[in-house]
Symmetry: C2
Subunit: 151 residues, 2 copies
């Protein structure tokens, strides 16, 4: 436990968030997601077993600056039962967190078709796997920069 640090941020997750640079991405995914295989090339799957998707995204967004210069710094997997581009209720709660904690508008959150999402996750720096039991609970966040006057 550290001062003013979200309790879900484990030592390994703190390290991973800090070693990411501008444009690197991190995925936060549900319990059914293909994490180990998509991360097989680098092995960085960090488990937050016991945590749900929204709490895990809250924790990540408490420290990670989003890439506000990118039109789509946040992506989520298109829900199979929702109209194209529309988030599920669970996804909408994360998008609320993106606006509230991450400081970017909902339009910065892009719905992606399942297999295109997988390909983007494959290029991410790490995958955080939660115990989220709702389907399509999968997000990607692109890191931005912190300039001196904001530190």
């Amino acid at each position: 436990m550290l001062k003013n640090i979200h309790p879900l941020l484990t030592p390994e997750l703190l390290k991973v968030l800090a070693e990411m640079g501008h444009g690197d991405e991190i995925a936060v995914v549900d319990a059914n997601f293909t994490a180990a295989s998509l991360a097989a090339a680098h092995g960085r799957v960090l488990r937050l077993s016991g945590a749900g998707l929204v709490a895990a995204c809250d924790a990540v967004l408490s420290l990670l600056p989003l890439d506000v210069d990118d039109p789509g710094p946040v992506a989520f997997m298109q829900h199979g039962a929702m109209p194209a581009g529309q988030p599920s209720p669970l996804q909408a709660r994360v998008i609320d967190a993106v606006q509230r904690v991450g400081g970017v508008p909902a339009r910065a959150c892009e719905a992606m078709e399942r297999f295109a999402f997988y390909e983007r996750v494959r290029r991410a720096w790490a995958i955080v796997q939660t115990s989220e039991a709702q389907p399509f609970g999968n997000f990607l966040f692109k890191k931005g920069v912190i300039l001196a006057q904001q530190a």
Copy 2:
């Protein structure tokens, strides 16, 4: 770089601070200190090359809760040219930071004879070695706890 995180806190140092538990200690030392040999059993020497002692201690204390239930959660190496128990001007600046950032009084900072300090550092979880060029620029910090209402 992360939001509201001191820029001297490297990925590795963030991980080390987070993995420490109640009563674990971390040393922050000057450029001449015997870091690698005292840490030989575990290998956790984290280098902040370019940083001075005061800035490095500021960074550590920004996240590390001190063990306020311990009468001496902070120790420093007794300066050879100072009266017993008296800090050097450099050490006094760190003790200021301990009070300002760490929130504990100066009496919580204990001067220790050189070789006794070495033995305590040998039991520490990690050593942060700075580029501090002034002599006796060596501190130890014992981690405390964060309770739910403070998180």
